[in-house]
Amino acid sequence: MNRFAELLDRVAFEHSRNGKLRLMADFFRNTPDPDRGWALAAITGALTFRHAKPAIIRQLIAERTDPVLFAMSYDYVGDLSETVALLWPAPDAASVGHNRPPAPTLTEIIELLDETPKADMPVALGSLLDQLDETGRWALLKLITGGLRVGASARLAKTALASLGDLEPNAIEEVWPGLAPPYLDLFAWAEGRAPRPVTSDPAPFHAPMLAHAIEEADLAALDPKDFVAEWKWDGIRVQAVVGHDAEGQRVGRLYSRTGDDISAAFPDVMEALCADAFGDAAIDGELLVVRAGKVDSFGALQQRLNRKKVDVKLVAEYPAHVRAYDLLSEAGEDLRTLTFSERRARLENFIATRRPARFDLSARVAFQSWDDIARYRRDPASAGAGEEAPAIEGLMLKHADSIYTPGRPKGPWWKWKRDPFTVDAVLMYAQRGHGKRSSFYSDYTFGCWREGAQGDELVPVGKAYFGFTDAELKQLDKWVRDHTTNRFGPVREVEANRTIGLVLEIAFEGVQRSTRHKSGVAMRFPRVARIRWDKPSREADRLEALEALIGERKQMSG
């Protein structure tokens, strides 16, 4: 356990993706089965412990420490698991030394936590904490309180696993949903010692095919006749899969683009998926909120995302819906090796004959030339999108002959997003970046003008940390250093008033109302489009310009 804990600790601090990968691969390579499999389960969030809860931890530490010192310590550290891990008194000197048994392994810990009845949990957990070092205690407490966010996603862990041999990360994703910890067969396959594990999952995830972004200039090289166009909807990419298990029971699942099972959060979609009308199939599509027959904004969909518990009222108020654009399998037949046109015909037939509730077909957008496409992109309403136009974020162009290739192959699929909104804002604060950028002020908070008590004042509206070139970063960094008025730790406040101030043209995808921000608005996906060295700060945009865009999806004029 202590070694696993060290890995988590190190990965959490490491800034670079490659560094995290190497650390994890090194751990997987040098840790025996089944410990490494349980570690993989822990990192990918595949473990839960029913009886070990934060209340027990508070009780255990209260029995062992002075309440005043605990309160002072917790106040200082600010994190319960970490405070307890650090504060936990070392066992009696008598039990320390060479007679002390070796620290428990991750496997032993997981088995113990699994088998221990609720009433015995305090004692069992206390003895585990006694046997671990500080980092081990920290990791254990994070593990059982569900706070084990280590700065490494499930995807990254699977990529590290793939790097043990010569597998593609997507190959791991393909088999993943059918496997269970400690993944002995998976490690054996990754290391080239055994064949691909047989997945028994009747409703497996299929690694998705993704599109590359395209610009207008690139289109000239493509023949419009080869491509099919569809709207690109502003929802989240999902996969709806239905199959039957060995006992003939229907199994349905809704997966996110990364293969997370999000079924529990969408009972409305699941009801449709598990109805008889829906045969065994895997549909690739976009999850949207549809109200009164019309796709609502991404903001509406967000009401349904990232929720632990399903709120019946929200489900009724924001009904979810899947707009289907591909059929990956049907009645046990893998369709991914067919061409797009062939799959599309199967999909159209599937939707038309089965008429599943909450599913509809992503419409084909007819066009003759790239000029048509450019026009539709500027004004989707004119091309038949009608009232749903605000929920469209561009067009998808798919080669009619493309087979379904997991990953992001270059050529078959393109996405052409509509132009972002832009706003001219004034730089207010800059913060140091991470990793390679840790010596640069690379995270920028910017503001717009609004009327204040003493005339116009700037109010922060967002934060951006990319969109600029390395050369621009150097210029921005220098400007920040030369115009600092105040420092707070890693943050610098810079000159920002009506006479002095740096104007940044910020590109973004939308604006939502937000109660968490002083300005009352939150931007989606803001980035620096241009540095307006030429523009006087007093001519930057006003907050009202952003407020006018709330719920808007059309291109901002000017």
Binding site: R10, F13, D26, T65, D66, L69, T83, A90, P490
Partner: protein, 342 residues
């Protein structure tokens, strides 16, 4: 007749009326006794200074030969009469030359700890517990969450990172007086035999340690031309340099930082540290408590740091305890970043 006051806290620092001297005063005074060379304890501009030879040398290196009007060397363990008060300097185990100062008027004995640690340190003599009536302790890490791990284990983390990432320079931030040299010595003990590279701000004190006979192996100062070539090397620098323009030219640098503060993850994260090494030149919670017991004092005063927590603990074991909350101490790091900028 009431006991005459032997030591009393004043805005300038601890003052002894009978001997007319201050200990580690934070402003210029006619007569100062200095525990050690860190900038928050040893300041320039006093009339006369009494300190160990090494502390006096370090002050001269940092402030120039004219850092005071007259100076006097205190040898460890040798009583010195200052205006009728006997003062004795004892090793504090903190940095080279560091001392506790024992003040005695024949009736009462008070020990001022200065900064101290109990963990073994190859670069300076170990702390000696002195029996006294009043112990005046620092409390930099006086919360029970601060339990420093074995420093050899922490150095092990650095070496395994070097083995895993041989293409990356490992920048190790450490205070330039004491911690930097201790880290070099620890790295040597762990078997690292390549040259150790140092930032210019660490050079003067490191040279001094070497002249004083501390074996640090081959030390090389980093020039601008060296920086891109130092993949897989250890580069010692002041903590602030890790995030400075200076760090940019190294190949994919790993930001390491050796400090007791690294015990708390949020602190490490806030500084953008990737490889926190918990190595401190201050006593941790257990060592503070153990030391206070060893002095057999009946009264504890706490100068700076987490004074309330330590005073609370002392009261639970029956000591009279008072936090002094002296202002101006505990910013060694600030002092170090000033050096880096200079």
């Amino acid at each position: 007749m009431a006991d005459p006051i032997l030591l009393t806290p004043t805005p300038a620092g601890l003052y002894c009326p009978a001997g007319d001297f201050y200990i580690d005063p934070v402003r210029a005074t006619p007569r100062a006794l200095i525990t050690h060379g860190h900038a928050d304890h040893a300041r320039a501009g006093h009339g006369s200074v009494l300190a160990t030879r090494q502390t006096l040398d370090i002050m001269a290196l940092r402030y120039g030969e004219n850092f005071c009007e007259t100076r006097q060397i205190a040898k460890y363990g040798e009583g010195i009469n200052v205006n009728g008060v006997e003062v004795t300097f004892h090793p504090a185990g903190h940095v080279l030359g560091s001392a506790q100062i024992c003040v005695c008027d024949g009736k009462k004995r008070i020990v001022v700890s200065g900064d101290y640690k109990r963990e073994q340190d190859p670069t300076c003599p170990p702390f000696e517990p002195i029996r006294c009536d009043i112990f005046i302790s620092e409390a930099t890490f006086a919360l029970p969450v601060f339990r420093h791990p074995d420093s050899r284990r922490e150095v092990g983390k650095l070496l395994s990172s070097l083995a895993l990432f041989p293409e990356r320079a490992h920048l190790l931030g450490a205070y330039s007086l004491g911690k930097a040299q201790r880290m070099m010595a620890l790295v040597r003990e762990a078997g690292w035999d390549k040259p150790i590279w140092i930032h210019g701000a660490v050079e003067k004190i490191t040279d001094y340690y070497i002249r004083e006979g501390v074996d640090l192996g081959e030390i090389r100062k980093v020039t601008a031309a060296d920086r891109p070539k130092l993949a897989g090397e250890i580069v010692l620098c002041p903590p602030s340099a890790i995030q400075d323009l200076w760090s940019r030219k190294f190949p994919d640098p790993v930001a390491a930082f050796a400090s007791g503060w690294m015990r708390v993850r949020a602190r490490a994260r806030q500084r953008g540290v990737e490889l926190p090494l918990i190595v401190s030149d201050h006593a941790d919670w257990d060592d503070l408590c153990a030391t206070i017991r060893e002095t057999q004092c009946s009264e504890l005063w706490v100068t700076h740091g987490e004074a309330d927590a330590l005073a609370h603990w002392a009261s639970t074991i029956g000591l009279r305890a008072k936090p002094l909350h002296l202002v101006g101490y505990g910013d060694e790091e600030e002092a170090a970043s000033d050096e880096a900028a200079a």
